[in-house]
Symmetry: C2
Subunit: 202 residues, 2 copies
Amino acid sequence: MADPPTVAPRKRPRQARAAATVEAIVEASARILEAEGLAGFNTNAVAALAGVSIGSLYQYFPGKEAILAALAEREAEAFDAALGAALGEIGDLGTPSAVARLARVAVDHQTRHTRLARILDMEEQRLGLTEAQAAAGRTVQAIAKFLSDRHLGGEAAALDILHLSRGLIDGAVERGTTDDLAKRLSWAILGYLALSRQAQPA
Amino acid sequence: MADPPTVAPRKRPRQARAAATVEAIVEASARILEAEGLAGFNTNAVAALAGVSIGSLYQYFPGKEAILAALAEREAEAFDAALGAALGEIGDLGTPSAVARLARVAVDHQTRHTRLARILDMEEQRLGLTEAQAAAGRTVQAIAKFLSDRHLGGEAAALDILHLSRGLIDGAVERGTTDDLAKRLSWAILGYLALSRQAQPA
DNA sequence: GACTTGGGTGAAGGATCACTCATATTCTGT
DNA sequence: ACAGAATATGAGTGATCCTTCACCCAAGTC
C-alpha cells in the first residue's frame, strides 16, 4: 500500500491573476480527465492545456494528487449546491414528482462529466480527500433529511440511492441510452423506497 | 484520443509449463489490481509477483493492455457462468425469490473483487475488449430472457438492472455496509421492474 | 546424439513524466 | 518612481517503467 500523498494546496493565490492560473489548471485537468482518462492526466499536459508553465502549477499544488483533490471538491460542491436548490423547490410536491425532480438533477450533473465523475469517485477513496468527502457528506445528509421528513428512510437509504443512481446513470451514458433516463432512475429509487418501507414498517 | 493498443495474445502456450506461466501472470495481475489499483499495475511488478521474468510475460502478451483483456474475459466468463447456473435453478420460483437468488450471485461475485471489477469495467470501454464484451453480452441476454419469460421487461431493463446493481454493490462495499445487501439490491430491482411495468403496460 | 521447437531469462535502451530551481516578469503600496 | 512581494517561466534532473533482444535451457523427434 502506498502512503497517502500530500493533498493540501501549497499556497493561496493573492492576486486575481494567480486565481485565474489556479482556475485554469483545475479546468484543464477536468478536460483532460474527461477526454483521456487518468492515463493522459500528467502535469505537463495539464500545464500545457491550461496555458501555464509547469513551474506555475507547482507553485500552487504540491503534486498532481492535489489537483485531483481540488477538482473533487469543486465537483462535490457543485452537485451539493444543485441538489440543495432542487430540494428547496419541492417542499410540497408529492413524493413521485419530488423524486423525479431530484433524479433530473442527478442525471444532469452526472451526464455532463461521466468519466470525470467516475475517476474522481475512485480516487476519492484511494487518497483521503476529506474536503470532497465532507461536501459529499452534506449531500447525503440533505437527502437523508428529505427521506426522513417523508418517513421514507434514513441515511442508509440515501447512500444506497446515491450509489445506485451513479451506476445506472454511468451505464446509460456508456451505451448512449439516456432518453428516459430520469424516469428510469425514478423507478429504481421509488421502487427501492417502497419495498424497503414495506419490509420494515417503522 | 490514443489509438487502441493491440490486445490479442501473442502466442498460445503449447506445453503445460507454459500454460502455468500464463495463468500465473493473469493471477498476479488480478492480485495487484485489487491491492494497488491501476497505478501499481506495471509489467515488472506483475512478472515479479508471478515469479516469472519480464521476458516471459512478453512472450505471451504484446503489452500490459493485453493482460487486462485476458483478465476481463476471465472475469466476465466467470460471472456469466455463475449467473447461468443460478438461472437454471430458479425455473419455478416466484419472481421475488428468483430475483433474490440472482441478487445473491451478483453480490457474491462483485464483493470478492470490487476494485478489480471496477477497474476492468472502466478499461473495457477505453480499450476495445471485444472478447470480454461478448461474454458480458451473453450475460445480458440471459437476464433479458429471464425477464421476458416473466413479462417483466427486455434487454433495456436487463442493462439498467445490471448497472444499477454494480453501483449499489460497489458503494456498499466501499463503506462496509454489506449486511443485507442482497435484500436491498432486490428492493431496487423488484421496485424498478414493478414501476416500469406499471408505466408501460405491454 | 543431433536437430528443432517451445519456453525462459534479464540487462539495457529509450521514453515518459513528476518535480525543482535559478531566473525573469508583473504587480502593489507608498 | 521604486522596493519588495507575488507570480511566472522552462530547461534540467532523476526516477520509473515499457519493451526488446541476444542468449540459454528443456522437451520432443528421427
